[in-house]
Homo-oligomer: 444 residues x 2
C-alpha cells in the first residue's frame, strides 16, 4: 500500500515480498505508485503483477506510463495485457495513443477482437457508442431461472457487469432481468415470466450525457445500448457514467471560466504551452470586446471632466452587473445540465429573474444610497446610482438567464454563455445606462 | 407513460386501465406526472399504485407533494408506505419534513425501525452516516458459497443492494465478497477462502464527499461504513453517491457564482424571495468592496483629467484581469474537488501559473499593442498598456490560484474564493498598477 515500502523492497530486490504486497494492492493505487517511480522500475513492478491485475493497472495509468510500458514489454506480454483488458477500456486507451503505438497494440490483438475495436473506434466522440461496453450477458426468453443462473456462473467472470442481464431474440433487445430478480425467483420460472419488457435504453449515436442522465435519474447499474433496429450492441455501466459525469462537469466549469477545453488531462499533465493555448482565445476575444465599454466611457468624456466623481462608481456598477449576470447564467447553465430547466421554460424563468432582479436591485440601491449620503452628503448622486443599480441588475439578470437558454436552443453549449461573455456585455450596457441617467439628472 | 393519457383516463374514471399503465411506469416518471396534476388527483393516483411502487414513488416526489399525501392518507396506508421504503430514503425525507409531519410518520412506524431512524437522524449533515443505508447482507466466514447464495436468495429482495456482501465477526467488518465472486466460485469453498480482507471502508462521521470519491475512484457499487470500533453499520451505494456528486457540484458552482447555497431545491422549487436572499449577501459584499477600486480611480483623478483617454482602457484592463483570475481559480477549485490538486502542490502550481501568465500576458500585450498603434498612432500608450496587461495577468493568475489553495488549507470551501471575489481584488490591483505605470511613463 505504502509507496516508501515498495521502493525499499525494489532497492533490496525483495521481489517475492513485493509481489505479495502488490497482490493486496488495488490497481488504482498501483497506478498511482508507478507515477512516482523511475521508468525502469515501472516495467520491473509491472512484470511482477498477475495477468488480470496488470491489465487493470494498465487501464488506470496515464498515457506517458502506458507508452513506456508498451515500448518495454515483449509482444507476448502485451498480448496478455490486451487479452485481459475490457474492450471499452482498450478503446479509450487506443483513442489517446499515437498512431505507431496503436498499430503495435492492434498487431498483438486477435482478429475478432480487432474487428470489435475498430467498430467501437468509429463511433463519434462523446457518443454512447464511444463509452459503451460490448461484453454483457444475454439470455433467451425460454431459459429457466436455473439455466440462467448456471450460465452466469459459467461465463460471469469475463463480463464487466453481470448484475443486469439482457433478453434478446434474433439479437433484438426484448427484456431486462436484474440478477437480484433472478436469484430471488424460483428455479423453474422462465426468463420470459420475470423479465422487464418496457426497459430503458439508449442508441449508439445518442450523446453520452443522455445515457449518464438516465443512469443517474433512475439509479441504474447498467443501461442497454441498441442500434437503429433495436439490436442489442452493448451496455453503459454506472462507473463509466460517473467518469463521464465528472469530465462533463469539468468541461462545463472550464468553459464557464473562458477556458477552451482541449483534453481530459489533469492540471499537472497539461503542459504550460497548452494551458496558455487553452486560455488565450477567450481572453483575446473578451479583451477586444471590452473595447466597447471603453468607447462607451470615452463617449462620455465631457461628463467625466465636468463631474469626475462619477468615474469612481464605474467599477462598482460594472462589477455588480457582472456578478448579477453570472449568478443567473450559472443557475440556468447548471439547470440545463441537470435537466431541471428547458428552453420552453424561458418565459417562466424570465419573469422569475425579473422579480428577483427588482428585489435585489432595490436592496442594493438602498444600502448604497445610505453609504453615498453618509460619505458625500449628496442625495441626488445617491438617487442616480440607485436608479442605475436597479437597471443594471435587471439588465444583467435578463441577459444572464436568456443567453444560455438561446445557446441551448441553437445547439451550442450553454456553458459558453457564462460569466466572462455576459460580464463584457453587461459592462457596456451599465456604462451607457449610468451616464445617460447621470447626464440627465445633473443636466451635464 | 404519457401524462395526457393518464389524465384522460382519470377524467373518464378508467381506473382499471390506469392501474395497468402505472404498473408499467417507472416510479421516477410517476412522480414527475404527479407534479403536474391537482392535489386530489395525486392522492387518487397514488392509491392505485402497488405497495412497493407507491413507496418508491413517494421517495421520488418533492416535499410539497409528500405533505399533501401524508395529510390525505390513512394511518394504515402511511404505515404500508413507511414499511416498504428503504431506511436511508425514509431518513432523507424526515430530515426535510416539518416537525408535526415527522411526528405522524414516526407514529406509524414500528418500534425497532423508529430506533434505527433516530440514530440515523443524529448523524451530522453531509456525514457518511447521513447518506448510508443500514440494510445489507452479511455472512460468517465459515459459511460455504452454497449457503451464502441460499441466504441471498432468501433475504435478498429486501436489501437495497445484494451485489456486494460483507463478512462480519462479532459485528466487526472482516471482509468483502462480491456476488460475482460468489457465483463464479465452487459451491463448497468457504467465504473465508474467497473474501477480500483489505477492503476499502469509511467511517460514519467521515465527510460524504470522502465516500463518494472512493466509490468514484475505485468504481465500486457499494462501500461499507464502519464505526470507530470497525463494527459494520451500513453501506453507501453508487446511486446515492451519484446524487451527492451532483448536489456537491451544484453547490460548488453556485458558490463560485456568489450564490449562498441554502437548499437542494431545483431552480423552480425555490421561491423568488429565497432566490433573492441567496444572491443578495455576496452582491452586497462585492458592491461595497468594489468601492476600493473606485477610490483607487479617484486617487488618480488628476492623471485622468490630464489625460482622459487613459480612462477608456480601464474596463479592458480590469475585465482581462478578472477573466484571467477566474480561469486560474476555476482550474484549482475543480482540481481540489476531484482530488487532483492538493495544498502541498502550491509552489508547483504557482510556478506553472506564473509561466502561463507571462506567456498569455505577452500574447495579449502584442495584439493589443498593434491595435493601439493602428487606432491611436501612439506607441508609448501601446507600451504602457502592454506592460500593465502583463503585470495584471500575472497578478490575477497568482491570486486566482493561491486563494483557493489557502481556503482549502484553512478548511474553508475553496469555491468561496471564486471569480467574483478575485475579480474585485484584481480590479483594484489593476487600476493601481495601470496608473502608476502611466503616470511614470507620461510624467503626469
Amino acid at each position: 500500500m505504502d509507496r516508501e515500502d515498495i521502493l525499499s523492497m525494489l532497492q533490496e530486490r525483495q521481489y517475492k515480498e513485493l509481489k505479495e504486497v502488490l497482490e493486496n494492492t488495488h490497481p488504482v493505487d498501483i497506478a498511482e505508485i508507478l507515477e512516482e517511480v523511475k521508468d525502469k522500475q515501472i516495467v520491473l513492478i509491472f512484470r511482477l503483477l498477475e495477468k488480470d491485475k496488470a491489465a487493470e493497472t494498465f487501464t488506470e495509468m496515464n498515457n506517458d506510463m502506458r507508452e513506456i510500458l508498451i515500448n518495454a514489454l515483449t509482444d507476448s506480454e502485451l498480448e496478455e495485457v490486451m487479452d485481459e483488458m475490457y474492450l471499452d477500456d482498450t478503446v479509450d486507451i487506443l483513442e489517446e495513443m499515437p498512431a505507431n503505438v496503436v498499430k503495435r497494440l492492434l498487431m498483438v490483438t486477435d482478429e475478432e477482437k480487432r474487428k470489435q475495436i475498430n467498430t467501437l473506434l468509429n463511433y463519434p466522440e462523446d457518443s454512447v457508442g464511444s463509452i459503451m461496453n460490448v461484453e454483457y450477458i444475454a439470455f433467451h426468453k425460454e431459459m429457466t431461472v436455473e439455466e440462467a443462473i448456471m450460465k452466469i456462473r459459467q461465463i460471469g467472470l469475463n463480463r464487466e457487469t453481470i448484475y443486469t442481464c439482457y433478453v434478446t431474440e434474433q439479437r433484438k433487445l426484448i427484456g431486462v432481468v436484474s440478477l437480484r430478480e433472478l436469484l430471488t425467483t424460483g428455479d423453474n420460472h422462465t426468463i420470459e415470466e420475470i423479465m422487464e419488457t418496457n426497459m430503458l435504453h439508449v442508441h449508439t449515436h445518442d450523446d453520452q450525457e443522455e445515457a449518464v442522465n438516465i443512469i443517474n435519474k433512475y439509479g441504474l447499474i447498467a443501461l442497454p445500448v441498441v442500434d437503429k433496429e433495436m439490436r442489442m450492441v452493448g451496455i453503459v455501466t454506472v462507473d463509466d457514467a460517473m467518469d463521464v459525469l465528472q469530465e462533463e462537469t469539468t468541461e462545463d466549469m472550464n468553459m464557464m471560466a473562458g477556458i477552451v477545453v482541449p483534453n481530459e488531462d489533469t492540471y499537472f499533465e497539461t503542459s504550460i504551452w497548452s494551458h496558455a493555448k487553452s486560455r488565450f482565445p477567450w481572453l483575446l476575444f473578451l479583451m477586444l470586446s471590452a473595447t466597447l465599454s471603453g468607447l462607451a466611457l470615452g463617449h462620455f468624456e465631457a461628463a467625466l471632466i465636468a463631474m469626475p466623481i462619477l468615474n469612481t462608481f464605474v467599477p462598482m456598477l460594472t462589477g455588480t452587473g457582472g456578478n448579477c449576470g453570472s449568478q443567473s447564467s450559472t443557475l440556468i447553465i447548471r439547470g440545463l445540465a441537470t435537466d431541471e430547466v428547458e428552453f420552453r421554460d424561458i418565459f417562466k424563468i424570465l419573469i422569475k429573474e425579473l422579480c428577483v432582479a427588482t428585489l435585489v436591485g432595490l436592496m442594493l440601491a438602498v444600502v448604497n444610497g445610505i453609504r453615498i449620503v453618509l460619505m458625500y452628503q449628496n442625495p441626488v448622486l445617491a438617487l442616480t446610482l440607485g436608479i442605475t443599480l436597479i437597471c443594471t441588475v435587471i439588465l444583467a439578470k435578463t441577459i444572464g438567464c436568456v443567453l444560455p437558454l438561446i445557446a441551448k436552443k441553437c445547439r451550442l453549449d450553454p456553458a459558453l454563455m457564462a460569466a466572462p461573455l455576459i460580464t463584457t456585455l453587461v459592462d457596456t450596457g451599465t456604462i451607457l445606462i449610468y451616464f445617460t441617467i447621470a447626464t440627465h439628472i445633473f443636466k451635464i
